[in-house]
């Protein structure tokens, strides 16, 4: 009898582990070389294989995170890591405003907060190259940037108001199985601070020569990709402690090399 009970529990445990692995909500992204809008030396960059969250982090996910990590609660977060509007749509330290949808993407989070959230789960924020690599796919193609319909859809979203309040997972998933890279919110990237344009043309003219060494500024590869331009401009204008109504994030995970 005893051994049977143990066996039952073992089966149950294994089953639960499997269940969790599936509920993990990440999909494999097969790396490759591609030409980003702004690359290293303006040439192709190489993206390695990685796992990416299918959805952006939701309000509900983040609620759980702050419950477990008091230092990221609204009243506890230190000024070095987040500006005053951090979790602006939250009623208090542990709860969202009544009107906010738990299944909307979390916004009003700083880069530091997003990075901490991902690290807590053994993940990290995607680099710009990784994010853009997945985001250039549409429902059927891995690189849909040449399609007029792809650019049109993204630009239509940029015009849509209050898309940050939508529920995650409603936009069609792309060919990798990833949702909402376009259509809901902008997303933090690990190296957003590598974009060396200020996003303001007057400033670029006067100060850049002094402020930036090297010349990675205006050398975009695909002048038609206006949507991507906007994303880079936003990244260039951000500081790590900024929080915004329409800026959320998702995490990715490196795939351990077998020889390590």
């Amino acid at each position: 009898m005893t051994s049977q009970a143990i066996r039952v529990m073992c089966v149950f445990l294994v089953f639960q582990t499997l269940l969790f692995a599936q509920a993990d909500g990440m999909v494999l992204i097969e790396g490759s070389r591609y030409l980003p809008l702004y690359g290293r030396d303006s040439t192709v960059v190489e993206v390695k294989d990685f796992m990416m969250d299918q959805y952006p982090v939701s309000n509900a996910d983040y609620e759980k995170f702050v419950k477990e990590n008091p230092k990221w609660r609204k009243s506890k977060v230190i000024k070095l890591f987040a500006d005053d509007s951090y979790l602006n749509n939250w009623k208090n330290d542990q709860e969202l405003n009544h009107s906010a949808n738990p299944n909307s993407p979390v916004t009003y989070v700083s880069w530091f907060a997003a990075e901490a959230y991902c690290n807590c789960q053994g993940k990290r924020l995607p680099t710009i190259d990784e994010w853009e690599y997945v985001a250039m796919a549409d429902e059927t193609t891995k690189d849909a940037r040449v399609k007029a319909s792809y650019n049109k859809k993204i630009l239509d979203w940029y015009e849509a108001p209050r898309s940050n309040e939508n529920t995650i997972g409603q936009t069609p998933k792309n060919v990798w199985g990833v949702y909402d890279l376009h259509g809901l919110v902008w997303e933090w990237t690990q190296d957003f601070n590598s974009v060396l344009i200020t996003g303001e043309s007057r400033k670029d003219k006067d100060q850049d020569n002094n402020l930036f060494c090297g010349s990675a500024a205006i050398n975009a590869t695909d002048l038609m990709n206006y949507a991507a331009f906007m994303r880079y401009a936003i990244r260039g204008s951000l500081k790590a402690k900024y929080t915004m109504k329409n800026l959320g994030f998702r995490c990715i995970k490196d795939i351990k090399q077998l020889d390590q």
């Binding site: 009898m1 529990m9 070095l80 190296d191 601070n193 402020l211 090297g214 990675a216």
Partner: protein, 239 residues
């Protein structure tokens, strides 16, 4: 089936025991609220009831809420870079955290040693600032170069760079971090950088001044710019 029942019963008992514990400790905290004058008119004297301070008549505040304010000298403030817990290696191959710099006024810049264009000028700018400071005050200031290329800039390389540039004295310090700690630190300084080839980076040219508590007080942006403001802030901080 009996063992299974036993396991479940044990689990239930443990859960109950734990939840009781946490309730008890919460109660203790509520009972133990003490109040204190925010200005410390009577030193560390505490009151058991809320009210006003008999000396300055300010409203008493719970001791638990006051802690961060009363101990500024020993605790780290909200805006201090000493909140960063990453570890760094100096050019002397010593492991440090940023909070080890506490107590000194800190001047920081991010460079990389293989840089040919802007970095030599940034190094010159740092030296220019140091030249303006009277010798007596130099001991209160730490000039820190943080490498944005931690793969290449090892402690040995940083040491060699220090010697080449006659910056081997105590007031100069060179730091190697990791890719993620450098990225985080750059974000605290609002410095932007990008690897544009294996040996080259684009980066913003910003010299930052921190007070002895690690709070940012001044930033000088650009190359070869007038350093009067930076020197002025340093003179004020080291009075």
């Amino acid at each position: 089936m009996r063992p299974l029942k036993l396991v479940i019963t044990a689990l239930i008992i443990i859960t109950i025991a734990f939840s009781c514990n946490s309730k008890a400790s919460k109660k203790d905290q509520v009972v133990a609220t003490l109040y204190q004058c925010p200005m410390h008119c009577e030193g560390d004297k505490t009151y058991e009831e809320p009210g006003n301070c008999p000396v300055c008549e300010m409203e008493l505040v719970p001791v638990s809420e006051m802690k961060p304010k009363t101990t500024v000298a020993t605790e780290i403030s909200d805006e201090s870079i000493f909140n960063l817990t990453s570890k760094w290696r100096t050019e002397e191959n010593k492991e440090i955290q940023l909070k080890d710099l506490k107590g000194k006024t800190v001047v920081m810049v991010m460079i990389y040693t293989s840089c040919k264009a802007a970095c030599p000028r940034l190094v010159a700018d740092m030296r220019g600032i140091e030249d303006e400071i009277p010798d007596a005050r130099i001991k209160d200031i730490q000039f820190v170069f943080v490498s944005i290329d931690p793969k290449v800039d090892t402690p040995e390389r940083l040491k060699a760079f220090a010697k080449e540039n006659y910056m081997d004295d105590e007031q100069w310090m060179f730091l190697q971090g990791t890719e993620s700690s450098v990225r985080e630190f750059a974000n605290v300084l609002s410095v932007k950088y990008k690897e544009i080839s294996p040996i080259d980076f684009s980066h913003s040219n910003i010299i930052s001044v921190f007070n002895p508590e690690g709070e940012l007080v001044h930033q000088q942006e650009g190359l070869g710019v007038n350093n009067a403001e930076t020197v002025k802030s340093l003179m004020q901080l080291t009075q």
